[in-house]
């Protein structure tokens, strides 16, 4: 059994349907109407120990709700969650020791206490012995630069400082499973880099991580598995690299030549490539399939026509793929996979069976 298991997990929220204005409010008093919103819709998910899973989706897709269901905060409307075989909603105490949760938008530090005291309280809550605690703090300090924050009270921390301290707070008990819900929201680049470095260390130590983020740079280079949720349903669950190979094949070579180049001559030597004028007459952009043409071939093709002064290559990003999924332009056919096959391919053989059905 996988470490984290969700079976047909569903959460339906009910909110009052109040028409606008005073008349609407009065009407609601007389006849109460509610609108049901399915936030998480029959989600099947299983995460093996040691996996790093990216859980992405547009705003309101149900990401945070899933995390709250998986950590036992919310009660599922139907379906169930198991963490190491335990139901977090029923075995709160036991599960609490095994999971760590970071909500980027909420802090678990005590407002009135210095960070050091907050962490010490958590140490006592989780019953971490002093030696282990010291060792962990030392590590947090190395990557997150905690020492400078230790004497600062929760309310006085800047957002970046708060997030670093909150990360330590979420991990002080050495949880097996960590849910990171938008952990880099609002952070500047240098802090983001440190935090991402820290995530990689976590993963390398064997911690199971589920990362929710809008910033896809958090995901690349960290998660091997990608799960995309949209309107409460999992629309894709598979290998991140494979998605990139399948849907983000194109590289773009931007090349600066000494003399003008006729685009047709480049097209002639690079069949299939799309050649466009660049930012100046001496620059060209050549878009090519990285599996059909190597970067070396592309550069060589131009060199054969004119002397190359400078060039750079844009690598494909997962952003493009996910942006296209969000906009509905791309439908990843793994959807059917997620519905029928309840055991996702966790061995990472990397074939997401994804098919484009372009509009």
């Amino acid at each position: 059994m996988a470490l984290v298991e969700a079976r047909q997990l569903t959460k339906v929220f009910r909110r009052p349907d109040k028409p606008p204005g005073l008349a609407g409010a009065l009407r609601h008093l007389a006849t109460r109407r509610y609108v049901e919103k399915v936030a998480v819709d029959h989600v099947d998910l299983s995460i093996e120990a040691g996996e790093a899973v990216a859980y992405v989706g547009p705003n309101g897709a149900g990401k945070s709700t899933t995390v709250k269901l998986l950590s036992g905060i919310l009660q599922p409307t139907s379906g169930e969650v198991r963490i190491g075989g335990l139901v977090p909603q029923d075995d709160r105490m036991a599960v609490a020791h095994r999971i760590g949760v970071l909500f980027g938008q909420r802090t678990q530090l005590w407002w009135d206490l210095p960070v050091a005291d907050s962490l010490a309280v958590l140490r006592d809550l989780y019953g971490v012995d002093e030696g282990t605690y010291r060792k962990r703090l030392k590590r947090f300090d190395e990557v997150l630069g905690l020492d400078d924050l230790m004497a600062v009270t929760g309310r006085k921390l800047s957002l970046g400082q708060r997030m670093r301290a909150d990360l330590a707070a979420a991990l002080v008990h050495g949880p097996e499973v960590v849910y990171l819900d938008e952990p880099t929201i609002g952070l500047d680049l240098s802090v983001k880099d440190r935090v991402r470095e820290f995530f990689r260390e976590l993963r390398d130590e064997g911690t199971t991580v589920m990362l929710t983020s809008h910033d896809l740079a958090d995901i690349e280079g960290f998660c091997r598995r990608l799960v995309i949720i949209d309107e409460g349903r999992i629309v894709f669950d598979g290998d991140l690299e494979a998605v990139k190979d399948e849907f983000a094949r194109d590289r773009i070579l931007h090349v600066h030549t000494e003399t003008r180049v006729d685009p047709d001559r480049v097209r002639a030597v690079l069949p299939g490539a799309v050649v466009a004028a660049g930012e100046s007459p001496l620059w060209h952009s050549i878009r090519f399939d990285r599996f059909a043409i190597t970067a070396g071939q592309a550069v060589a093709a131009v060199t054969g026509i004119a002397a190359v002064v400078d060039f750079r290559i844009d690598e494909p990003g997962i952003e493009d793929v996910i942006r296209r999924v969000y906009s509905g332009e791309l439908r990843l056919a793994a959807e059917t996979d997620a519905e029928t096959d309840s055991e996702p391919d966790v061995e990472g053989s990397g074939e997401p069976d994804a098919v484009v059905t372009a509009p």
Partner: protein
Amino acid sequence: MRGYRALARISAKNALTYRLEFAFALFGVLFQFVALLAVWRVLLADSTTGTGFTWPQMRGYLLVAFASGAVVGLFADFRMSFRIRSGLVALDLIKPVRYQEARFAEVLGGVWIEVLVVLLVGGVTVLVAGAPTWPGGAELALFTASMVLLIPLKFLVVYLCGLASFWTQNYVGVQWARIAIVNLFSGALVPLAYLPGWLASVAAWSPFAGMTSTPGLILIGRATGAQAAFLVAVQLGWVVVLWFGAKLLWRTAVRQLTVNGG
């Protein structure tokens, strides 16, 4: 246990950090105490009924009412209610401590400063008005037990009202209702003996009686021997019933929690 102790330590410390807010909150209770003393002094001077309290008795009784109003943080419920309504309760739910026990530990941590204030006000009252007649032996033990039980009892009443925040956004309304009901049914404003018969018996059997009437009557010697022991037993019974009742309510409450946004 270590976790609960840590929580208690935080509120023990917070009591000092927020001493000014704390002082203001207690001022209200203190003012009520002084006002009631003045009112009852006038009322008792005019009264000739045999069943009424004597002035020294009423003084002692109102001091108990003051203690009851002062203990068990006036912050405890506001903080809990705020965390529930804002969704911060999500973070309490993933801690390896039981919710109710954790909140109780926090309340116990802050009790020391409240007890100090009660002792101070009691001391001043004695200096100004003379020492009360203390009950003897068994009654003194029962009075002490009743005062100790007052703490979990009041915590439970406050905690149960705090749980209402799972259903309503208007905690202030709930709190006002609670204070009004407790003031009436505990005998904190008017000793139960002065209420109409039927209301007095309802109040005497309610959990609120343990929040002033029971320790008050034992202190001033109007409940003695077996009757005093019985009142304390009822008080203890309510603590047990409310403790487990609150646990049941918590289970229902947490099942319909919604936390919106990140």
